[in-house]
Symmetry: C2
Subunit: 454 residues, 2 copies
């Protein structure tokens, strides 16, 4: 490793230096997998906290508080003595010289690099849609969505109280994958169940939730029978599901889809993801979403000391790409530990193999769909799938998050029909919403109206 000698100002490393970038499921499992290995680990993340992303939509919809599903990375790793945590952003990777450049100006050398920076929203080249239709990847995204959804009801109530009418209270969710389905179901829950006694002038239950999906079915990555179940369940919750519907425009207060302009008090984006830009810095082949194509050791071609983990990795198994969800990311992190242990022992690295236990998405208060692969195979839906979902997520939370508070919040929410975290913080504006004054005269397309309540 002649490169190391060129780097000035640092003592020669006595143990291999491992840099892990990203404290999501992949990165955290990678760090934990190195716990007993004779290596020096630096975990770098631009945030101070790990976010339990599968429950992020519950923060967005006021069931949980941000701190219920997030924990400081350094607290999670506090007892792991070979590991230090650095809050900084990686802005460059020199894969030849084996060092990463940080936003603060410093550089860190590595003998091994694990890149686990995940994915972010993709607006398919329409970046100007981002402020109009926020997506859901971070705690900040979740509180922003919460702010918008709750504010829409408040502004409609104000408009009714002051002027006797209000514009359509439509919630438009773009994208029918798991996040879109969970958001649409949960907004419907809020409107139908949790808000109904709080307003005097609007009827929240008469608001509309529209789910727009470009492909022929929701949950396109799931088996067809579960997609059908999900669509059924959504319709039972009064969500209007529009498949085969391409969104062609997003503006303040409206969405254009299928050649029609739809009023939208709140627009949410759950349509596309793209890989974190760090993949590009390796100078290796990427797929069309920017994911790094890796071999059976999770290495990009020609870089055996670089491992790409989680959503940022494009890994194919049995002819299919492993999906960008929590399970594969955790397993990839665990694999990283095995691969390093093999290296240190002078043995050949094992091959990574994804062990698929299945996948689940909730749809509102008491329903879910589950494609179960282990310990038995099956397609579940409705209440049994929902109970399974709850159980699995409680178990997942054990260990690095305070599961008790989440469990307490769920019990509270379930039985009291109130939501504990209905806070509007920050700006009190919505894109496209000004005071609408008295009702305008003239035609409005009937389909776009929401009956004014009370």
């Amino acid at each position: 490793m002649s490169d190391l000698i060129e780097l000035a100002g640092r003592a020669a490393a006595s143990r291999p230096r491992v840099v892990i970038v990203g404290g999501g499921f992949g990165g955290l499992h990678a760090a934990k997998a190195l716990r007993y290995l004779p290596v020096d680990v630096t975990m770098v993340d631009r945030r101070n906290h790990h976010t339990f992303q599968p429950l992020l939509y519950q923060v967005a919809l006021a069931v949980l508080s941000p701190a219920d599903i997030a924990q400081p990375i350094r607290t999670i790793l506090r007892k792991q003595e070979n590991t230090q945590v650095l809050m900084d952003e990686v802005v460059g990777i020199d894969a030849r010289a084996r060092k990463v450049a940080l936003e603060s100006g410093a550089q860190i050398e590595y003998d091994y690099l694990a890149l686990a920076t995940g994915a972010t929203h993709s607006y398919f080249g329409h970046e100007q849609w981002a402020p109009l239709a926020p997506g859901l990847k971070t705690i900040e995204d979740a509180t922003e969505i919460r702010r918008r959804v709750l504010l829409a009801f408040e502004l409609a109530e104000r408009q009714m109280l002051e002027h006797g009418w209000h514009p359509p209270l439509n919630f438009v969710v773009i994208g029918g994958g798991p996040t879109g389905v969970e958001l649409a179901g949960a907004i419907s829950d809020i409107a139908q169940l949790y808000m109904r006694h709080d307003f005097r002038h609007i009827d929240p239950a008469k608001s509309r939730v529209l789910l727009l999906e470009g492909s022929p079915r929701v949950l396109a990555a799931y088996p067809e029978d579960l997609s059908a179940k999900a669509e059924q369940t959504l319709k039972r919750l009064s969500v209007e599901v529009h498949t085969h519907t391409q969104v062609t425009g997003v503006g303040p207060g409206w969405v254009e889809a299928g050649g029609k302009r739809i009023d939208a008090a709140v627009t949410l984006w759950a349509a596309g993801v793209q890989a974190s830009p760090l993949g590009k810095m390796l100078g290796v082949p990427l797929d069309k979403r920017g994911c790094v194509i890796v071999d059976s050791h999770l290495n990009p071609p020609g870089l055996p000391e670089v491992f790409v983990l989680g959503d940022l990795a494009h890994f194919e198994q049995d002819g299919h790409q492993v999906p960008g969800v929590a399970q594969p990311a955790m397993q990839m992190g665990d694999y990283f530990g095995k691969a390093l242990a093999a290296d240190l022992a002078g043995k050949a690295r094992p091959n990574f193999r994804y062990f698929d236990k299945g996948d689940m998405a909730t749809i509102g208060r008491m329903a879910a769909v589950a494609k179960i692969e282990w310990p038995f195979k099956g397609h579940w839906s409705g209440f049994p799938a929902w109970i399974t979902w709850i159980t699995v997520h409680i178990f997942f939370l054990v260990g690095f998050l305070n599961r008790l508070s989440v469990f307490a919040a769920w019990i509270w929410t379930f039985f009291t029909f109130t939501r504990g975290a209905r806070l509007i913080t920050g700006s009190q504006q919505l894109p496209g919403w000004q005071d609408k004054g008295p009702k305008p005269v003239g035609d409005q397309p009937e389909t776009e109206k929401v009956a004014a309540g009370s």
Copy 2:
């Protein structure tokens, strides 16, 4: 009431219309006190939530989540049928025509007005200090302070890790009233106890907490013996208490006080409050902080249909001004109900009288000072006062907030020495902090250094 007839476009009121502005302790108690009266109540607040201000500092210091101490005003009042809640901001009051103007452009008429918009920070004419030294009045303030305090430790760790030194990790709290004392004690707790296992390169216990107070003693509104106890306790917690110390300048990364410039990684403002600007709109006499001078019915002179409640009211009893804390605000709100009931019954209004049960301030993990007036008189300090504080605040929380989650968080924090809500969200910059690079050569005043840890 001839004014009402002049107002066009509204049906004549069949019942007196009551407008309450502000959903703090005063406003909420006022609304609840009208529950069974034949009046139509509109509660106006520019926020959607009531904030339990006495526990705000625990959000600022990562013990509690924002939602633990805040609840939507409309949820609190959901079952009160004569009351509607409007999220809007009052921007004008026409006391002659008896109407308030709203930010959204509408106006509301009233037969009775309760003004309970409280107080905000006063920077004594130095408004440019506000972004450099945030105060603590709202949920947003609390998360901003949390962000800065946690970020300071992260940035110091990063600086140490990358460059082997860090600038002084000083937390400067300006103002030695209850809020300043609580903040200083709680920051010391965080640094001394809660962070100690999380960092590898800095020693959080070696950070400094400075409490600057212009007057001769902290907690100047308390009896002298309790001030002395408080100062003693703060010193035991390693807080450096500087009384007789006027702050003359605040800049990015520093505070100027007593002719000296002090490095400050984080500066917090707890020095002064001023009344909400709504008092001015009544066109009646104000005191020097902008509070409305009210008579024994809590009315300003000449406006018997206007009641000023809580921190916005300047009410004197037995030659002393009633302090701007939660107890008097609640009692003023309750009184409002009695005064209206008397009016409706055609009886004379009773006089308001503040019943002082005492006052308390916590100082860190296990100490407090309490001036108890009821059910017996006494000055308490240390652990007994702290237990009293906990008990009283748990009882206060009953009814309109989810006290269980707060209690659980306290137990958790107390026994595990971890804090559940250590989230940094938003910007990752601190005023005055850039990457400091390698240690500068040349003199730094010794008193201003913090020993670099590890």
